[in-house]
């Protein structure tokens, strides 16, 4: 029965203790804890993390590979926020490739009630009971997920966060640096739009941390470009239909049609909805930026409707995270830093008309 929860070499304890922990979770001998509590979440990644730290994987998106192989019989649970969003689908696909490449088992789970933090906790608790070896999680809330992350650590199970990170206790955080993505895309658009005009921001669901950080990146950048004015910033909940509806309504406001130069949506879905609305209103000279580099958005870039997007590569991020976990489970190797974004500067994540063909045919995460 290979149910050893984990073999963390970092805080290696003796084998009998681990066995005892397995036999009786409630027994006085505590299970083999892993202690990542010093890993407090940070919102921004260091420059080194973005550029120089060596990664155990090469490539990005569908081209990603690694030499790492699992030495044990690991099951890694990949838990996303929901099961209907393409980003989550990308995470699962990445996990599947990692499973094949590294020789492990992966389990992909998500709450039945979309984005429910409470169900996310329940899922992790159940998986801990099942003796899973490690977690890759995309929490809906960084603080709310803490009880489950703590419980995982108690049970000696390492956790890597993708996207929104747990407030503390993750072995590592990866996925993109949201603030950074906001800044990069905003800069790109502001530089391109001729220095003046109106800007509309479509926000993610109120309360979604990734959306908030991204928005902060955009608005901070906006402050550095005094020529632009913010017309309005309204949430459309990462949802295409709502993106479209909100855009339609904003276009009805007096003067907006003449003023509007740039639309920045906190994800591709809303950006595409906004494009639908702009097209319906016969407006063609507005620059639209989105995030994620989804399949649909790529086509829109190709068609010239969408100006720019940011490749957030859930496929590669998950693959990378699993590789880091396997390395740790095999030999106790810890990441060099807490927050190593993936993709990051070194991956040239901006996708626009100049590199769209290369992206689609060679390394997009949705392939």
């Amino acid at each position: 029965t290979a149910t050893a929860p984990a073999e963390p070499a970092a805080e290696a304890t003796t084998a009998p203790e681990a066995a005892a922990a397995e036999a009786a979770v409630e027994a006085t001998e505590a299970p083999v804890k892993v202690d990542f509590s010093q890993n407090q979440n940070v919102a921004r990644a260091s420059d080194a993390a973005k550029t120089t730290i060596e990664l155990p994987v090469v490539g990005i998106g569908s081209t990603i590979t690694t030499d790492v192989k699992a030495a044990g019989d690991y099951t890694i649970c990949v838990m996303t926020k929901n099961s209907t969003n393409p980003y989550m689908n990308g995470m699962w696909k990445g996990a599947e490739k990692a499973a094949a490449d590294l020789g492990i088992k992966v389990v992909t789970l998500a709450p039945a009630q979309q984005d429910s933090i409470e169900e996310q906790i329940a899922i992790m608790e159940a998986q801990i009971q099942q003796g899973v070896s490690a977690f890759v999680i995309h929490p809906s809330d960084s603080k709310g997920i803490m009880p489950a992350v703590d419980a995982a650590n108690e049970a000696g199970i390492p956790v890597i966060s993708i996207g929104t990170a747990s407030a503390s206790g993750s072995m590592m955080r990866t996925g993109v640096d949201y603030y950074e993505t906001g800044v990069v895309v905003a800069k790109y658009l502001f530089d391109m739009a001729g220095g003046e005009g109106g800007v509309i921001i479509l926000e993610g669901p109120p309360g979604a941390q990734n959306a908030e950080e991204r928005k902060a990146g955009v608005t901070d950048t906006l402050a550095q470009y005094p020529g632009y004015t913010l017309i309005d910033s309204q949430p459309a909940n990462f949802n295409r239909a709502q993106g479209m509806q909100v855009m339609e309504n904003l276009l009805q406001r007096e003067g907006v049609k003449d003023q509007l130069k740039i639309v920045i949506a906190a994800n591709d879905e809303m950006a595409l909805g906004a494009i639908q609305a702009l097209k319906a209103a016969g407006i063609t000279d507005v620059l639209v930026g989105g995030f994620d580099g989804s399949a649909d958005a790529s086509q829109a870039i190709k068609a010239g409707d969408l100006t720019v997007t940011y490749n957030t590569d859930p496929f590669g991020s998950t693959y990378y995270a699993i590789t880091m976990l396997v390395q740790y489970l095999d030999s106790g190797i810890l990441p060099a830093e807490y927050f190593i974004p993936f993709p990051s500067e070194r991956h040239k994540p901006l996708i626009d008309s100049s590199n769209i063909d290369d992206y689609i045919s060679n390394f997009a995460w949705f392939n």
Binding site: V25, Q113, A122, Q130, D141, K143, G207
Partner: protein, 316 residues
């Protein structure tokens, strides 16, 4: 107890019980570490918030209504509580205040149903929207945190080997049970469901009974919000979404009928457990989440069909 009365009692159990038994066997055979105390404790803890909400929902369903504002009320309560704590109010003031908002929302529901004569479905649907707004405004849209020992104490510590969360859930169960069976309040709730006219001729205002019932449900929601906030150690403006429907489903799976004031909180226990054990087991069995929603839907439908079938058989 004679064999016959035992048989009758067993026959009266909601079908959720049998389905739970089947599921336990199935999961036990298909997963590791299933029949362990810690697993069951963790299932029960997961079930606790829904259960407490469902205690309140039972009351409303007994009165032939549904309360769709419960999820939003949970959202509001967790957020208001944590925000008040952030403002450095002592917990002795912050918690009652926050719970008060949920209770007040319940009271307003009652008022709208009783005095404005709106169907509960619509009254609470409107209220759901209003409370969600309040939760968003209070939290400024995102989840809110505050460092305090209380969350961990409630969520993690136990008394006599049973976690506090479960004690609270047991308390809510006992309270609702006693209220329904042994107080005039309970008799009024059941008579509102069975025949509101009867209450009127007994000299009690059905309006008042309605308001009391919704207020009590608001109180149960407040308690559930307390548990939920402790469990996620934060206030979250969407944490309660879905609780309103899940609680109605649990109540009905527990054999409480939307007509005639039949049923009670005893069955609700099984309804909640059915949902929670099902979900937990699917996760334990590593069933990909893509399939989970469909499976849960099918099991819920099946349980309801079974319940309807058994009830019809009993009537014949």
């Amino acid at each position: 107890m004679t064999v016959k009365s035992l048989k009758k009692r067993v026959g009266a159990l909601p079908p959720a019980v049998w389905m739970i038994a089947v599921m336990l066997v199935f999961y036990g055979l298909n997963t590791k570490n299933y029949f362990t105390a810690s697993n069951f404790i963790s299932i029960l803890i997961q079930a606790a918030p829904l259960f407490v909400v469902a205690c309140g929902q039972t009351i409303i369903v007994l009165m032939q209504g549904t309360d769709l504002s419960l999820g939003a009320s949970l959202n509001m309560m967790t957020v208001v509580w944590v925000v008040l704590m952030q403002k450095n109010l002592p917990i002795g003031i912050a918690l009652p205040l926050a719970m008060g908002t949920s209770v007040f929302a319940g009271y307003l529901n009652g008022l709208i149903v009783a005095k404005m004569k709106l169907p509960p479905f619509i009254a609470t649907l409107g209220m759901q929207n209003i409370l969600n707004s309040i939760a968003l405004v209070t939290s400024n849209g995102s989840s809110v945190y505050h460092e305090h020992a209380i969350y961990k104490i409630i969520a993690k510590s136990s008394f006599l080997g049973i976690p506090y969360i479960l004690w609270i859930a047991i308390g809510c169960f006992a309270l609702t049970m006693v209220l329904l069976k042994f107080t005039r309040f309970g008799a009024r709730v059941i008579s509102m469901g069975g025949n509101p006219e009867s209450l009127k001729v007994a000299g009690y205002s059905p309006d008042l009974a309605t308001i009391q019932a919704f207020t009590y449900t608001g109180f149960m929601t407040a308690v559930a919000g307390f548990i939920l906030a402790c469990r996620v150690e934060s206030g979250n403006p969407i944490v309660g979404n879905g609780f309103e429907f899940n609680s109605v489903a649990a109540v009905l799976l527990g054999g409480t009928s939307m007509r005639e004031g039949r049923g009670g909180v005893g069955g609700t226990v099984f309804g909640v457990l059915l949902i929670q054990i099902l979900k937990n087991g699917l996760v334990m069995m590593n069933v990909s989440s893509i399939y989970q929603t469909a499976i849960i839907g099918i099991v819920v439908l099946f349980a309801i069909m079974l319940d309807a079938y058994i009830k019809r058989r009993q009537e014949e």
